[in-house]
Symmetry: D2
């Protein structure tokens, strides 16, 4: 049995669901999961399907070709098809904070994450021992004002040579370049340590402390060119009080960051996320 995941969006129109499901059935596929959403403000239809085909007769490229020239044309669909058994390859970018790294590698090691980690990259050497202890290649690509372009070039080469599918910034403290973003659109996941859009930018826990909020949060989002303004994948919060110092907020926030980021990674690798107009549709 071969399994595929199909993501579609297009202008909302009649009979789209019946047409797609009928197409799958006609081509000897069996739909095992279907979810759909209509954005009524923008009149856009979104759908996610998981389908099974008999392995001996199914050829993914043929199916894509057929889908593309018939249904996709007729309904003017934007679409993506993924072979379900293929693990996406994730590059981990880190800096000096280790909590998200430990969390992701612990989950990875225990088989919780459906992905491969070809390498970890950092502008510092601090976390190399952790990468070593999990037997994952670690690349040190330092960044200074004068070496920025060079470093970026090195990053792109590494990403390409390892056939990376998506990048996770696990508290990577650098601004990512436009080139990188353009090469990996909606494929660079960041964790920001506030409930966006509150406290954009640096030192959100300090700002939260100063404002005297009673909840803090963390937000995982795709990186776009506008700082901390990309499509939000996942958010969570925790209650705090006047008794929490900035240090306490940072400690409490670490737990939020870990869980929110790992949830975003899971959603992304399960192809549960669609992006449209700087917002996400998250199929459950």
């Amino acid at each position: 049995m071969q399994k595929i995941t199909l993501l579609i969006h297009c202008e909302d129109q009649s009979n789209i669901i019946a047409s797609v499901t009928n197409f799958i059935a006609t081509n000897d596929g069996n739909i095992v999961y279907i979810d759909q959403h209509v954005d009524r403000e923008q009149n856009i239809f979104f759908m996610r399907l998981e389908c099974e085909f008999a392995s001996n007769t199914f050829a993914l490229e043929n199916f894509k070709q057929l889908f593309s020239t018939t249904l996709a044309q007729k309904f003017q669909l934007e679409w993506k098809i993924f072979a379900a058994e293929r693990k996406p390859k994730m590059a981990l970018f880190v800096s000096k904070y280790d909590h998200c790294l430990y969390d992701i590698l612990g989950r990875y090691n225990s088989g919780e994450l459906f992905l491969e980690i070809p390498f970890i990259l950092s502008n510092h050497l601090d976390l190399k021992p952790i990468a070593d202890s999990f037997n994952i290649p670690f690349y040190h690509v330092p960044i200074t004002a004068s070496t920025k372009d060079e470093a970026e070039q090195k990053q792109l080469e590494l990403l390409e040579s390892h056939a990376i599918d998506f990048i996770v910034l696990a508290r990577y403290m650098q601004i990512v370049s436009k080139t990188l973003i353009d090469n990996y659109p909606n494929k660079i996941i960041n964790i920001h340590h506030s409930f966006l859009p509150a406290f954009v930018g640096a030192k959100p826990y300090h700002s939260a402390y100063k404002r005297g909020v009673k909840i803090i949060g963390a937000t995982s989002h795709y990186i776009t060119e506008v700082l901390d303004a990309g499509p939000i994948i996942e958010q969570d919060v925790a209650h705090v009080s006047h008794t929490h110092s900035i240090k306490d907020l940072i400690a409490k926030g670490r737990d939020l960051e870990k869980i929110v980021l790992s949830n975003a990674i899971k959603l992304h690798t399960k192809r549960k996320v669609m992006v449209y107009n700087n917002k996400t549709i998250i199929f459950s």
Copy 2:
């Protein structure tokens, strides 16, 4: 445009999604919402659809007849079809506590609930003034050991004469009879003031206090013959501490009860709940 909601469950089998969607399309319906679930343990398939038909040609009874004799037979479907524009009729059973009653009537008055309330029934007169202030008929049906059968008969007559679709026990402190349950299967919604299955039965806040739990909860479920063991529709919890007295737990719990019960009512009236083997499927 006429809109229907279709709920289906059956043994899981190939091509069921494509067949149903195709059937709708063939009969000039347009699917505007589809959600499905497969219970892999029990191999049962569940689906919920919302479909639109042109008003001038569509006849609900004809459609039901056709669906029943073709698709339903072929796949051995259990199914229900609801006309979306029809408001379900809800009977409210209360006793002496007023918080859930106020909450439901406040929402009802402001148009938040898609339902009608033909009457409120109680074994006490305490809450009659509230019913009066919202201009809803109030029936006083006292219950004593000797009048129990008679009271129950009176209840059944009222429910039938008002064509009630479902019953909400808004902190109604009486055990509901088997006859009532049999007449309204999975149509009697109760609110229990604990996170079931913890603290079944009377005085759950007292038990929670005694056990020293750090969270309390509320659970909305359909009434079955086994006390507090029916299918759970919705649950929510709140954190508490050693500083909370039993009275504090009761006060904090009231807010949970209100929200959990009103959410269950909304899910039920939107036909978002399916019940199978004493568990619920809640479509989002």
Copy 3:
């Protein structure tokens, strides 16, 4: 037995706790509750005490006088003393939304709130029937650009003549004047329908929808001259998804608003809130 609540703040210094507790003991009081906090950034000490005195010998004014001339002077204390049995008087300002009003009055009626409501005030007549059904005086004070000063004068007269202690803006859709704020410093409680500081100003649910956030919130705070920037008393949030329309966010948000506002009212009336430098200390 006579009970008082004592709130103190001052520059942090040695022996302040022992000195205050000793003072109470020396004057035949028994401390039944003590809580304290030190803001290490600003070096400020905060304390809240509940003390009991024998009724036949205790005179509140004498005690205040003594406290003021001895301890308060020695440690340069800012302090407030409240007789615990006196119910604070709350004025309710509303506009057209009824959910917070229903919620507060339901709690008030069932004895959950320790306060009196001398009157409800609105710039519209829409909610008068609700006030009537709870038998609470309702004043209609319309506001237009030309009558603003006059309306404000009328408000101040009503507040004064009813000896109002604090004001609750239960979705009162008007900007409150500087004069009112100056007359009731940290005594005007507002409910804002977002997790501040995100989505300051009008239509926060629309902004939340547009940004695609995965959580929405509500914030209760004291009104200051800067819009939505006053000291935060209480916040809560709820998870949302792409399936929620703006209308859904508004409906879900109403439940947050109700609970957050009523919690803030309870904290305020129990004298659990201290304000310093635009932040709150909330004693539990």
Copy 4:
């Protein structure tokens, strides 16, 4: 400056707060934190203080002696005094699950936990590599029906020879013996993977799945002789739905277990927990 933490409980009585604070002041101590609680049902008073003394004159043993013979006798106090700078020594008992172990060691490594870990003990060898990678001694003490007494003896020797203060069962899948419990009363912290008292005993996620609950939880508690019935330190929950398989519940639960257990460890090591009559008082 030398800092101590003082925990007291006794029958509730007048002037206890003033007397204790006065005693500290008289002995040249400065109270920097005070919290107290009265259990009105059982008429028991609880207090936690942090005090600072000038290092050159303060002798902890002398202070204890004086406190014991004066105040403690007068008020019949139960009390404990801890030197704040001394890190408690924690033994980690594990079995085959690694998520709590990774979580605790990650926090330990980054300095988040105020404690020492002299050793990790397991009845299996599976997690030895993790202990090795963090450079913590690992003892393998296998347990079979015939070697149970011997294994227990070995455990007690290890605990004693390393001067262990408290034990954490990080998903240690064995029933702990009465002897161990008696030697470490309210000093053995367990994590149970349900919101107790629901789903006591083995396989709680399976039971939760079967019951169809909409929330799952985790509970950290001190071990007593009655299974899963000891004093609860911390609980947390997560929302689930019909879409979650047992495997999903287990994965989601792991995150709860990690956070709940590490919070309990923090509360214990900060001396924030008091136990009375099988319940905890948790000072914030």
